[in-house]
Amino acid sequence: MNRKLKDKIFRFIIYISVCVVVFVFLFITIYVVYKGFSSINLDFFIRLPKPVGEKGGGMVNAIVGSFMIVCLAALFSVPLSILTGIYLSEYKNEKFANVVRSALEILSGVPSIIIGIFVYGLVVVPMKRFSLLAGSIALSIIMLPLIAKTTEEMLNMIPLSIKEAGLALGLKKWKVVFYILLNTAKPGVLTGILLSLARVFGETAPLLFTSFGNRFWHRSILEPAAALPLQIFVYAIAPYDDWNRQAWAGAFVLIVLVCILIFLSRRLILKYK
């Protein structure tokens, strides 16, 4: 077999693989858009679910619920995980840093349903209630290793001379770390946060027995709350056509949200290029 033919065959195999990947992506997106877009209407965004048997209604409580759960989760996990990332990067040679690194790796591998059960035992059972708060704690645990790892990697990529430049300005080490190194790592860290948000927006399993779901408004973060993925789950397996239709609409909204987050993160990377 000659050299050129081998090259052609190799290229062919590569192109086929790429096509399969792109096809899967396009198929999912187009199918969800096709199914969801036709079911979406203004009511979907502004109305509560109707009682069983009645047609119409919407998912406004689930949309708001999802946003609240995810924002609260970010509020818990962003400061914690950034500080952890700083620790891992600044004290990389400490023995304890290795322990933390392994712990984070395991945590990022733990199936999300197990994190749900853990929070159920730790928060829901003692408080004797499902709650939005419990849901955000579960999601924040999922975000933690993602953001901590990105922060560590981004800080590690900064050349030593940037840090020395900060020290040479007579700044204390903590000021160099927080105002100069973290600032330098900012595009990467923010990207990591956005991607982790995109990830947890669609998480369903850990919410099943934490925020639980709710067909009405939650009146406080200490009450069970609806979330988009939960609502999609319930509506998709229900025996009513109208509910199935709304599940597709929910899926559509979820995919658009994830796309927006990913788009934002790419913009951010380009801005500092």
Binding site: P159, S161, I162, E164, A165, G166, L167, A168, L169, G170, L171, K172, K175, Y179, I180, N183, T184, K186, P187, Y272
Partner: protein, 253 residues
């Protein structure tokens, strides 16, 4: 009559077990440019990194001896290294502006983080520092552009401005032109010569012509030892030591 700004006395430094500076003593004069020359690995950079106490931020390093600035030993236990670093500015080998900050912020950040709040005052100092570094005319219309937009030479002058903003008495240059083209190099050399009016300047270089062009005094270091030190003219034209003469003639190095 020249007055002494820095007095280095029996000074030695180590990286782990490796001794990079061996019992060095000499005086650096106020408002002069002093060049430190010598082959790679002779300890030139380490020596100036000891003058702003940056050597010690690398793990497993140690020093022995004294360095006096204005007759105060900067290695006395009551001396705060942060205060020394404000007094002794540094420009590094590779241009290292803070990449996610604007041109203005790169110069202002040292002032802000050292506690200066007055916006107007910060602005004035930044402009003055950019002027002194010979960069202002080129960047005056894009002070809020990211520093990474500048060319290598401009970035290095930005780093000079960043150091100048803190009004240091001494400025250390660690091979500031080794990553730059000849035109950028010439601009930085001009700046260095102008700076000695108000500052004491020390420049590490392995470019002998550069030392001859900018320096009033030159110190020749070899394998961690100070071989010869004196006015640049006499060191280059009539070196007293055989090693110095060989190095200048290009026999080794």
């Amino acid at each position: 009559m020249e007055s002494i700004k820095i007095k280095i006395e029996n000074f030695s430094a180590w990286y782990g077990e490796h001794q990079v500076l061996k019992n060095i003593s000499f005086d650096i004069y106020k408002n002069k440019v002093t060049a430190i020359i010598g082959p790679s690995g002779c300890g030139k950079s380490t020596l100036i990194r000891c003058i702003n106490r940056l050597h010690e931020v690398v793990p497993q390093t140690k020093i022995n001896g004294k360095i006096y600035i204005d007759e105060k030993n900067i290695y006395d236990p009551d001396v705060d290294p942060m205060e020394i670093r404000k007094k002794v500015g540094m420009v590094f080998q590779q241009p290292n502006p803070f990449p996610t900050m604007t041109i203005f912020d790169n110069v202002a950040i040292g002032l802000k983080l050292n506690g200066l709040r007055d916006k107007k005052q910060i602005y004035e100092i930044v402009i003055q520092a950019l002027n002194e570094a010979g960069l202002y005319e080129e960047v005056k219309n894009k002070l809020d552009a990211y520093a990474t937009r500048l060319s290598g030479g401009q970035q290095q002058r930005l780093c000079i401005a960043r150091a100048l903003a803190l009004r240091p008495e001494i400025i250390l240059f660690d091979e500031p032109c080794s990553a730059l083209d000849p035109i950028s190099t010439a601009k930085i050399e001009d700046t260095i010569v102008k700076l000695k009016e108000n500052h004491t300047v020390i420049i590490v270089t392995h470019n002998l012509q550069q030392a001859a062009r900018v320096a009033d005094y030159t110190a020749f270091l070899f394998l961690g030892e100070l071989i010869e030190y004196g006015p640049t003219n006499s060191l280059f034209t009539a070196p007293k030591m055989k090693k110095t003469e060989e190095y200048i003639r290009g026999v080794f190095g």
